[in-house]
């Protein structure tokens, strides 16, 4: 997967640009979307709690992989949304899922030797979407591009954004 910072920045860029046109996307919700962008990376819980360890403890097959799929994003987003005040819950869920899904799409563009991304649409489908194999995560250029674009958007938002003049 792309690194977590790229995910968070991608959510920031997309949601901030969208906020220029969609009034309801305010900085508070952009922040929620950025957190949503981090959800698929929770799959790295594997580093702390190895799936094999869990498998041994439970006695059933187990893998953390679904965390980095549509189903995992939806469930984790739902759990996080429950931590929001009632009036925000639904929208929080929406922004979390939006951010998380965006990360899945970004991940879906990375290199696979056989040209097909992982089944990140699980559990909707096991189909592995074709990937343009744009990048590998360890390539620093990915981060350079992400940071540069995010900086541009940040500057543009300051200058031209809806709230730029109000604050």
């Amino acid at each position: 997967m792309a690194d977590l910072l790229t995910h968070v920045l991608a959510a920031y860029v997309v949601l901030t640009v969208a906020s220029w046109r969609v009034e309801r996307i305010t900085p508070s919700w952009v922040a929620v979307g950025m957190c949503g962008g981090a959800i698929p990376d929770l799959v790295k819980v594997d580093l702390v709690l190895d799936s094999m360890t869990v498998e041994g403890a439970l006695g059933v097959p187990f893998t953390w992989s679904p965390v980095s799929t549509l189903g995992g994003v939806g469930l984790v987003a739902g759990a996080i949304a429950l931590a929001f005040g009632p009036r925000y819950r639904r929208r929080a869920f929406g922004f979390l899922v939006a951010g998380g899904s965006l990360s899945l799409v970004v991940d879906g563009l990375r290199v696979y030797a056989d040209g097909r991304a992982g089944p990140w649409l699980y559990p909707v489908t096991w189909w592995r979407p074709p990937t343009p194999s744009l990048y590998v995560t360890s390539d620093p250029r990915v981060l350079v591009v992400a940071v540069a674009v995010a900086a541009l958007v940040f500057a543009a938002d300051r200058r031209f954004g809806r709230r730029g003049t109000a604050e």
Binding site: T26, V76, G85, R87, D114
Partner: protein, 389 residues
């Protein structure tokens, strides 16, 4: 918010036609989502700061409700001179009309602000504030009784920064109307910009301060049932249930994946390699040794049945031992794969450290952004928008 702003806290009413009313002293929360920001409008109504005897103001509902959409109005000389539409044509956003009055009422209080939807009947009281929300299709009006509180009726939720010496006491009342998406909110005014489906109305009142230099705000609101509060334990159960389902997916995925991938499982390669010779597969492996001269490498592949080593033919990449590669190719006898494609995931073992470090920065960025805009409300144990977010 600037120094000259005054803040009026308002909360949405519930879906019940007649919600219960809480008393003074009951905990009250004022999320920013429904805080109206009133300030002198630098642009003014019709470009003029002073309109007749009044002063142009800008009413914004911060976040949530109208989401930054401002409602312009003016401070009028007297309540009796209210003319919701006066001078506002073409300036009012989202089909709302605003007006503000500053006349002292019989109790010597001054209304802070009134905003009125042109579709709603005139509201009695000192002023009205209209917000909007799209969520609730239940449009019945409800009114909340007023409560007064003086002295140290502090709530931490609202800071008034208006005219010096204002302590706020107020009535909160409300009505709700729902208008169809395509209804013209401000009929007769050619104002058709509304994209919201319901309108909420609030009345607020501001009173002069008894405590010089101190400004406080008290909101009296219907009790918690209004905004659908769920006990934290119930929510915790909900969270656990969702994570339980996720756990189910984690089991299901591992169980079902082999039948949905065209390649043999790594576990099967570990235990019964011979049965899969000749098949195509995609392997992820950690590079052990590279023989650049012969375009060969040895990689270690992890599986549920333990790690095993594979020899890779056609390995032309420059990778350090410890790096991670993807190999796509055909399985040959003797744990060898003829690679048709090799992709380098991590060129060296250190790449992992780079990814983790950058990811840690990303996690901090996300959390910092979040908590700059949100806070944990200790009373309800939930996230609420920060007042200064």
């Amino acid at each position: 918010m600037g120094d000259g702003d005054r803040v009026v806290g308002v909360e949405r009413f519930g879906t019940e036609p007649d919600p219960p009313v809480c008393g003074v002293g009951q905990q009250v929360r004022l999320p920013v989502a429904e805080i109206a920001v009133v300030r002198e409008d630098e642009h003014g109504v019709g470009g003029r700061l002073g309109v007749d005897d009044g002063v142009a103001v800008l009413v914004e509902l911060d976040d949530g409700a109208v989401a930054g959409g401002g409602v312009e109005g003016r401070l009028e000389a007297a309540a009796s001179e209210r003319d919701a539409g006066g001078g506002l044509d073409g300036l009012v956003t989202d089909g709302l009309l605003a007006f503000v009055q500053r006349a002292a009422d019989e109790r010597g209080r001054r209304a802070l602000v009134g905003v009125e939807s042109t579709q709603l009947p005139t509201l009695e009281g000192d002023g009205e504030l209209v917000g909007e929300d799209e969520v609730d299709p239940n449009g019945l009006a409800d009114v909340v009784r007023e409560e007064e509180r003086r002295g140290d009726a502090a709530t931490e939720h609202v800071e008034a920064a208006g005219a010096a010496g204002d302590v706020v006491e107020r009535e909160v009342g409300g009505r709700r109307r729902v208008v169809a998406e395509d209804d013209e909110l401000a009929h007769g005014r050619g104002e058709t910009r509304s994209r919201y489906t319901s309108v909420e109305v609030w009345r607020t009142r501001v009173a002069p301060s008894r405590v010089a230099g101190e400004r406080r705000h008290e909101t009296v609101l219907p009790s918690a049932s209004r905004d659908g509060h769920v006990h934290p334990l119930v929510r915790l159960v909900g969270v656990l249930a969702l994570l339980g389902v996720l756990g189910g997916l984690c089991v299901h995925y591992d169980r079902a994946a082999p039948t949905h991938t065209p390649y043999p499982e790594t576990a099967a390669l570990a235990t019964d390699y011979g049965a899969h010779v000749g098949e195509d597969t995609l392997l992820f492996g950690t590079v052990q040794r590279v023989d650049a001269a012969a375009d060969r490498a040895a990689i270690r592949v992890d599986s549920d049945e333990g790690a095993f080593e594979m020899a890779v033919n056609g390995f032309a990449e420059r990778v350090e031992p410890g790096g991670v590669v993807q190999v796509y190719g055909s399985l040959r006898a003797g744990r060898t794969i003829d690679a048709s494609t090799v992709e380098v995931v991590n060129p060296a073992g250190a790449s992992k450290g780079y990814k983790y470090a950058v990811s840690a920065v990303g996690a901090l960025l996300a959390l910092a952004s979040f908590f700059r805009r949100w806070r944990v409300d200790r009373e309800s144990l939930s996230f609420e928008v920060r007042a200064d977010g």
